[in-house]
Symmetry: C2
Subunit: 224 residues, 2 copies
DNA sequence: AGGTGTTTGAAATGTACGTTTGAATATCCG
DNA sequence: CGGATATTCAAACGTACATTTCAAACACCT
């Protein structure tokens, strides 16, 4: 069955889990090639460098995800009247869960990797994602903008990044959180359940009323 | 004036900025001692190890912050009727901004460090914080519980961790976000502004209506 | 001033890392 | 089959890291 597996795939499979759990910089090629049961030099032979391996690991998911998201976004944009924010956010659910067909636990792994990409110092990853898929993400921003016309662009910018943080951190700590939740509330936790819990939180946060006072009531400064 | 500065303080000052910007694991003692203009061996002499230096850097802020938070929480708990959620969250603002008197940009540095503590793999830091200050944080959870009596305990658990993720991720990416915001919206971004933008987002997310449907309408599984 | 304990300094230790090399092996195709 | 190409392998390279060592410099005190 699984007799002969491609070396490149063995590397990608080993790397994605290690990267997701330990971060990019704290995962060594020696760990990866050891888990993958391939020679140390194989990474540089097949991918060129560690940096390019990181991109390849993410690309496996991004290609699938972004194509699906692009479809969904275009579909919603074609509708004449603006869409409900909850509907717009819900569009992520199916494409994300379909990543489970790329690999076991693909959804969780991808979201963890995304988190690592933003918190580890990986400038090349931010550039890589924005350069390749910025066009798709712009559609999403446009959709949210249409469903929240009262939100200033700068406020929207911040809230979308707050939301990215919410998702990414939650997924990064998923294991620990799930354990606690199961122990304290005896509820079983899967990735889909977490996503369903996230949606109302995110929708409410993004659409929160804009504070009328742009300056806080009391300032507190050091020095001067 | 600043003629003779304590070696320990020179190390702490240099370390906190480098840790905040580059993360704990990606900052070397050589960088720190070079910026601090002290000998490489000084870190191990004064702090024992890099791990203990990390804790010392955080401790400088945690000691001050947690004492102040404890006061505020106790004060709110003493009030008979439950407090408004926004009020409870707003309690963080002043103690956080007072960290600017611990050091220049203390608030920003501390929050970035906190973010690093949760995203870098620093198990000892999670333990360190919980062990030393878990009692204070429990008061906060109680306050939120009182102000959102309609929220089931499990839902509250998830939403508080969502919120932690929002804050921590935002602070970890603070620099990059601030740059973009300044470029795209030509608005100056300081840490207080970010905190003031966070509050309504967090309050709305935590208090979001609880979805009546506990099971999502469509499932999607890989394999079976 | 002189002796004691604390702090600094330059150098070395051992380990781990990403990457490169060149020979050995496997795979492919006429 | 046989020669060319693609892949694997063990070993080494150069670099960077945290930590240790021990002698020199310093600070403090009677």
């Amino acid at each position: 069955m699984v007799a002969k597996q491609n070396t490149q795939q063995k590397i990608l499979d080993a790397a994605q889990s290690l990267f997701a759990e330990t971060g990019f910089n704290d995962t060594s090629l020696r760990q990866i090639t050891s888990v993958a049961e391939v020679n140390l030099a194989a990474v540089n032979y097949h991918f060129g460098s560690k940096k390019e391996l990181i991109q390849a690991v993410l690309q496996r998911y991004l290609r699938v995800l972004m194509a699906r998201l692009d479809q969904e976004f275009s579909r919603l944009l074609a509708v004449q009247q603006p869409n409900n924010l909850t509907q717009v956010l819900a569009v992520f659910v199916k494409p994300l869960l379909e990543l489970n067909s790329v690999h076991n636990n693909g959804t969780r792994i991808f979201l963890q990797l995304l988190g690592r990409g933003y918190t580890d110092v990986q400038g090349h990853l931010r550039w890589f994602i924005n350069h390749n898929y910025g066009r798709v993400l712009d559609k999403f921003v446009l959709l949210v903008q249409q469903s929240c016309p009262q939100l200033p662009a700068s406020e929207l910018f911040w809230r979308l990044h707050f939301s990215l943080g919410t998702v990414v951190f939650t997924m990064a700590s998923n294991e620990a959180l799930a354990e606690i939740a199961e122990a304290d509330f005896s509820e079983e936790v899967d990735i889909e359940g977490v996503i369903q819990r996230l949606l109302p939180y995110l929708a409410a946060g993004i659409a929160a009323p804009v504070s009328t006072r742009s300056q806080p009531q009391q300032q507190l400064r050091s020095g001067t």
